[in-house]
Amino acid sequence: MSAANVYVPVKEDFVPAPAEYTENAVQEAAGGVRHEMLKRFFAYKTSVTGMVILIVLILLGLIGPHISGHAYDQQNLSMANLAPRVPGLASLGIFDGTETVPKTDGAVRRNRYEELGVTDTYYIFGTDNLGRDMFARCFMGLRISLIIALAATAINLVIGMNYGIISGYFGGMTDILMQRIIDVIGSIPTLVVVTLLMLVLKPGMGSIIFALMLSGWIEMSLISRSEVLKVKELEYVQAARTMGAGHMHIIFKDIVPNIVGKLVTQIMLSIPAAVFLEAFLSFVGLGMPAGTCSLGTLLSDGFSNAMLHPYKLLPAAIIMILLMVGCHMVAEGLKKATE
């Protein structure tokens, strides 16, 4: 075929489709998929249960510290080490503040509320060894742990997602270089990173978040990279590129909305991981400083007292288990819905 026979397209041959038409069609198609995902998510019993657990916990974290009538850090040494006493149930003989205390010559049942003559006082979860209300402390701890976990996860998401997208989207040398860096950083155990950082930094919420951030973004970046690699070769992204869309447009308008499902799943898995690490730090003595509280400090204080006063450990442990299980249930539902 000679060159003269080849039709050379001119500019007028390409008429852009009416903007409102394409926009609507794309929106509707995407909306349909998203709607389908949500429907699947809510049809799955596990994920709905998980959602309910998490919502209840978040509400309790918000209002819990303020509804018992005692501040979480208000000390009252005359009321120290009281067992749980719940209004209403106390008259039935359960949760009336009676506890079995082991002594060298056998166990003794005693009710310290009656001994102190304060039978009209109720501490639903009891008090700790400084007379602070365990109910307010547990939910304050939940709040602090949630703040730490959410902040760390949000930072991880921003760093990890961008790192992964840049690495996967641009490919080539950029990708190789960025992945080698990940290989090295990812080979340092989280435990070592977090422990060493906490030794150098001042103990407190900011340091814990920073330490969690340094180790948590890698997983997030690996996931977004692999998702980007899958999505970027699909027809619609190629089409967008052919139509002259810029990198920023393709990344944020075409790619990001399609990897959100996987990222949200990963978020639901990094929250419990952060709570876990925070509690771990408290156990090894690098957690939140004395005076403040978090699920980790409550657990480690509670455990040292658990044999004498098991009620000091139980509520915090149950809250933590519910939080972990709730997040994993939601993550499982998301995984199923996005498959």
């Binding site: 080698r180 290989d183 090295v184 080979s187 340092i188 155990p189 989280t190 435990l191 070592v192 422990t195 060493l196 030794l199 150098v200 419990p272 876990f276 509690a279 771990f280 156990f283 090894v284 003595g285 690098l286 657990l299 455990f303 658990a306 044999m307 098991p310 450990l313 442990a317 933590m320 288990i321 972990m324 299980v325 997040c327 994993h328 249930m329 499982e332």
Partner: protein, 311 residues
């Protein structure tokens, strides 16, 4: 294969060098110096510094440090037990931790495989429910919470197992810590085994074996188990990391004289040299295990060798 091996080895070596650099820098920034004694005159400090090579440029110091670490000289403890070489501190503790980790890994893998395969083969309602409950709890709940529960209920209330570790009766005193650590391993392995087995059961060759009239037990033993067992190795790397972290807290709880409790003690005693030496040991262990598992994975699944290029 050789190329892949070389690449993985390079990455591991660079990682370890990087970790050593970080650890060295941390030591430089730690407050105080070994010669903080006011009684020492300036000349004496200079003599001491010359003796220990601290008057040399930082670069020279780093390479000396590197040489010592590689040769297995981890330095001495400052405050936990002053002037004891850290290698001596580790000598008795290391086997304890390794044994406990190994036992947890084995127990978790064994029960996980049983649970996963049973659910995949005979997935009736009760079994599936137990499987769902156990895997969810095992994956979500941290090992230290299991340990707390076990030590209160089994140890304190029912008095079935001793609460604290005793080296004279290492077997029975290790039951609770090992059980607490293996639950997480069990859950992950069970999920993986079930997914693998279900996948293999749907495969053409198993369908074909069925069509040929082979009985179920032959199919399960000869085809499904054999082909779904090997990939389980690949999830073990992640589990090992969890065990390392978990063992730290759990050793402390049950007073197990292992590496983990040494690290917690060193942290609370501000014994930086011990903390840093242990960080290096943990990183070394981790990097080596990851390397071994990667190579195993590559032997099992030849596609990895092609440099990750799918056909």
């Amino acid at each position: 294969m050789a190329g892949y091996l070389g690449k993985r080895l390079m990455i591991s070596v660079v990682t370890l060098l990087f970790i050593l650099l970080i650890l060295f820098l941390l030591l430089q920034f730690m407050p105080g110096s070994p010669f903080n004694d006011e009684k020492l005159s300036v000349e004496q400090v200079a003599v001491l510094k010359q003796k220990y090579g601290l008057d040399k440029p930082v670069i020279v110091q780093f390479f000396r440090y590197l040489g010592n670490m590689v040769r297995g000289d981890l330095g001495v403890s400052y405050s936990l037990s002053p002037n004891t070489p850290i290698t001596d501190l580790l000598k008795n503790r290391f086997p304890v931790t390794i044994k406990m980790g190994f036992a947890s890994m084995m127990a978790g893998t064994l029960f996980g495989l049983i649970l996963g395969f049973l659910t995949a083969f005979f997935g009736n309602r009760i079994l599936t429910f137990i499987y769902n409950l156990l895997t969810l709890l095992g994956i979500a709940v941290p090992s230290y919470l299991f340990a707390m529960g076990f030590s209160y209920v089994l140890g304190y209330k029912l008095k079935l197992f001793p609460l604290l570790y005793d080296f004279r009766a290492a077997g029975i005193t290790q039951v609770m810590p090992v059980a607490a650590m293996s639950l997480g391993v069990m859950a992950v392995i069970a999920r993986f085994a079930k997914a693998e087995a279900s996948e293999v059961m749907k495969s053409d060759y198993v369908q074909f074996a069925k069509c040929q009239g082979l009985n179920n037990s032959t199919i399960i033993l000869k085809y499904i188990l054999k082909n779904s067992l090997m990939p389980v190795i690949t999830v073990m790397a992640g589990l090992l990391v969890g065990l390392l972290t978990g063992s730290l807290v759990i050793e402390e709880m049950f007073s197990v004289p292992g590496v983990g409790s040494l690290l917690t003690n060193a942290i609370s005693a501000n014994d930086y040299s011990v903390v840093i030496a242990l960080s290096f040991i943990y990183s070394l262990l981790y990097v080596v295990v990851m390397l071994i598992l990667d190579l195993l994975y590559c032997l099992i699944d030849p596609r990895v060798r092609l440099g990750g290029k799918p056909e």
